[in-house]
Every structure is written in C-alpha cells, then in structure tokens.
C-alpha cells in the first residue's frame, strides 16, 4: 500500500506528463494544418504530371523503344527501396507502420533470392531497420536540420536514384511512405517508381483526343520522366509530413486522455487512503479515551 506522499507525488508527475502531451498535441495540430494545406496544394501538380505522362504513354506504340525509366530494363533482379520515415518519435504507429510494410516487402525479395538495396530517409526508420537489414542499407538521409522539405531535396534524391539506375545498380525502385487519408488514418504505401507502374487513370472520357507533341513523344518523355520521379518523391514527402503530424496529434490526444483517466484513478485511491488514515486516528482516540 503506497503511502499518501507516494500517491501525491505520482499524481503530480502524471499531471505534468499530461501537460506535456497536451502541448505537443497543440503544436502538432498547428503544424498539421500547414502540412495538410501544403499536401493539398501539391496534389494539383502531381495530378497534372500524371495526366501528361499517361497521355504520352498511350500515344507510344512501341514500348520497347521508349526510355528505360518508363519501361524498365527487362530485369527484375536488384531492388532499390527508399523507405521514408520521420526524424522524430512520439507519433503513434507512424514510423512502425511504414517499417512493417517495408519489412514484409524486404523478406519477400530476400526469399526469392533477389538482391536488395535500401536507402532510408529519416532517422527513425533507419533505427528500426538496421537491426535486421543493416548490410543492405546503402545510404542514410535525414533532414533533421531542415525546417521544411522543399523540391530541392526531392530533386537531389531523384538525381541520386537516376544516376544509380543509369549505372545499372538496380532494376526496380520502390518508395515507402504514409499516405495521408485523415487525421486518424494514414495508410502505409509501397509505390513503384522505376519502371513506371500503370498510373491511376485521370480522365477516361478523353481517350480519343489526338495530341500534338513538340518535340516528339520520346524526347518529351526522356525529359519528363526524371521530373515525374521528382514529383512523386516530393508528393511522398508532403504526404508523409502531413501524416506524421496527424499521427502525432491523435497519439498525443490519446496520451492526454489516458493521463486524465490515470489521474482520476489515483485521486480516488488517494482520497480513500486519506479517509482510512483519518478513521484509524479517530478509532485510536476513541479507544484511548474509553480505557481511561
């Protein structure tokens, strides 16, 4: 049975924890609004880019002569995986969910005797992956010191990936990130970026539109595909940022509520033991007075 003082100490400590989680929730909520806005603003660009690429893809008849970034190099032996996570913890299942998804994929690749290469973005994912996949990790990137991630970071990463692809260091590239659905639900995603997967169809009804291309299709594709990869990676960054804040907000909301429950319980315990002590003292006084 803890003493009254112990109980009092525990209540104060839980109360200060609650204060911290509450503050973190507020901060996350403010950041979330901005991140969500950014993610929504960025969607227009990536949608339009997707539309252009899928139109171009439709107009290309001979897929084998198209650029390698679109069609791949007909091999499927070496996989490059880019795992994007946050640099900070305390955001619920955010990092763990991405890592779990990635780990399943890695095990599949290893089981089928293919080669695996990993680039981690964000230190938390790296921490979780290096236990099992240390030998596969080529590079670790963190943006801890940056306030917000811009297109420059995305295009840096893209040029790294494209140089590797041109040097035949891998055949297939997949990125892992969390897609922002709502504040309470984020979906871990595995998206293949090289070769380009069949894109989500934009507007089906305009299939028969004949486009004019200047310069010709293949030349446009050659320049546009790297840009498209940058766009996809940047989109993943934005979605990730919004998901991180959303996830943190709901995690901290839960923590605040749990702390509240704990305080209630401890307070009841505290009052009961205080009552017990008073009763005991009264009994002692009364029985002392009776014996006189």
């Amino acid at each position: 049975m803890p003493s009254l003082k112990d109980l009092r100490n525990r209540i104060t400590s839980v109360k200060s924890t609650q204060k911290i989680t509450k503050a973190m929730k507020m901060v996350a909520a403010a950041k979330l609004r901005k991140a969500q806005e950014n993610a929504e603003k960025g969607r227009a660009y990536s949608e339009k880019m997707n539309n252009i690429i899928s139109n171009l893809k439709k107009s290309i008849t001979d897929i084998s002569s198209s650029p390698k970034l679109l069609a791949g190099n007909n091999k499927n032996d070496v996989h490059l995986c880019v795992v994007m996570t946050a640099d900070r913890g305390l955001c619920g299942g955010f990092n763990t969910n991405i890592v779990k998804k990635a780990r399943e994929f890695f095990n599949q690749i290893i089981d089928s005797n293919k080669k695996l290469k990993i680039i981690t973005v964000g230190s938390k994912g790296d921490d979780q992956l290096k236990r099992n996949f240390k030998d596969y990790i080529l590079e670790r990137i963190t943006y801890k010191n940056l306030k917000n991630i811009t297109v420059n970071e995305a295009s840096e990463l893209t040029s790294k990936i494209i140089t590797m692809f041109n040097n035949n260091e891998f055949d297939v590239c997949t990125i892992f990130y969390n897609k922002f659905k709502s504040v309470i639900s984020q979906e871990p995603q595995a998206q293949q970026i090289i070769p380009v997967e069949n894109l989500e169809e934009g507007d089906e009804d305009n299939n028969d539109v004949q486009y004019e291309f200047e310069p010709d299709e293949s030349e446009i594709l050659e320049h546009l595909l790297p840009q498209n990869i940058t766009t996809q990676i940047f989109k993943a960054f934005l979605e990730n940022a919004a998901s991180e804040q959303g996830s943190r907000m709901s995690a901290m909301d839960n923590a605040t509520r749990n702390a509240g429950d704990l305080i209630d319980k401890l307070t009841i315990n505290y009052n009961r033991s205080r009552q017990a002590v008073i009763t005991k003292e009264l009994i002692e006084i009364i029985s002392g007075a009776e014996s006189l």
Partner: protein, 127 residues
C-alpha cells in the same frame, strides 16, 4: 479558356476566362487561343504572358504545358511573377546558369537552356 499555372508547391495562378496566352515554346514563341488543338510541349526560359483583363507576366526557367479541352495547364518548377522579380533574384538565377554552363557534365541541351536563360534575364533587366 481556363489557365492554371502550377508549381510543385502550389497553384500560382488560375483564371477561367482568358482569351490568349503567349508562351516561350521550345521550338518558338507560341500564342494559344481558345480551341487550340490539344498539345504538349516544353518551355524554354522566357516570359509567359497571360492576356486577361489586366495582362499578367510571368518569368519561367522552363517547364511543360498541356492544353486540352480549353484547359491550359502550365507546369513549372521555377516561375515568378515579373512584378515580384527583384534584381537580386535575377542575378542569382544568372549566376546559377553561368555555373551550370561551366560544369563539364553538362549536356548540349542544358547549355542551350542556360544560355537562353541568361539572354532572357538580360532582356528582362534592360526593360
């Protein structure tokens, strides 16, 4: 026609009643009016002129346009409203372009683009 100018970060400009837009296409200056044929083309560095009620000018370092069903989408990584383009920014862009030309790994195409960028910036400054 509807005109959307978008960057990866945001939608910079949107208007659904524009009679004409001139863009610096990779194969020459190009004016786009209503009911133009569907077209996809690259842009070289230069000035985009959106001629609505109060004509707007934008400066871009390159991008892609997509015209279909009277919707013109202009996708650029770097685009500035000319009124907001300061001398400082112009010099910075010029320095970047100069650096790029000196880079040995630079392809002919990139050199061409950088040269055009510098020319356009000089024109812009003299105005």
């Amino acid at each position: 026609m509807q005109v959307d100018i978008v960057t990866p970060e945001k939608v910079l400009f949107t208007d659904n009643d524009v009679p004409m837009v001139t863009v610096p296409g990779i194969e020459g200056q190009m004016g786009i009016l209503d009911n133009h044929v569907p077209i996809v083309t690259f842009l070289r560095p230069g000035v985009i002129n959106v001629e609505n009620k109060n004509s707007k000018y934008f400066f871009t370092t390159g991008g892609v346009i997509d015209f279909k069903n009277n919707i013109l989408s202009i996708l650029c990584q770097d685009i500035y409203d000319i009124e907001e383009l300061t001398d400082q920014k112009i010099n910075q862009l010029k320095n970047n372009a100069n650096k790029k030309i000196k880079d040995e790994n630079c392809t002919d195409h990139e050199v061409f683009i950088s040269n055009t960028l510098i020319e356009e910036l000089n024109l812009l400054k003299s105005r």
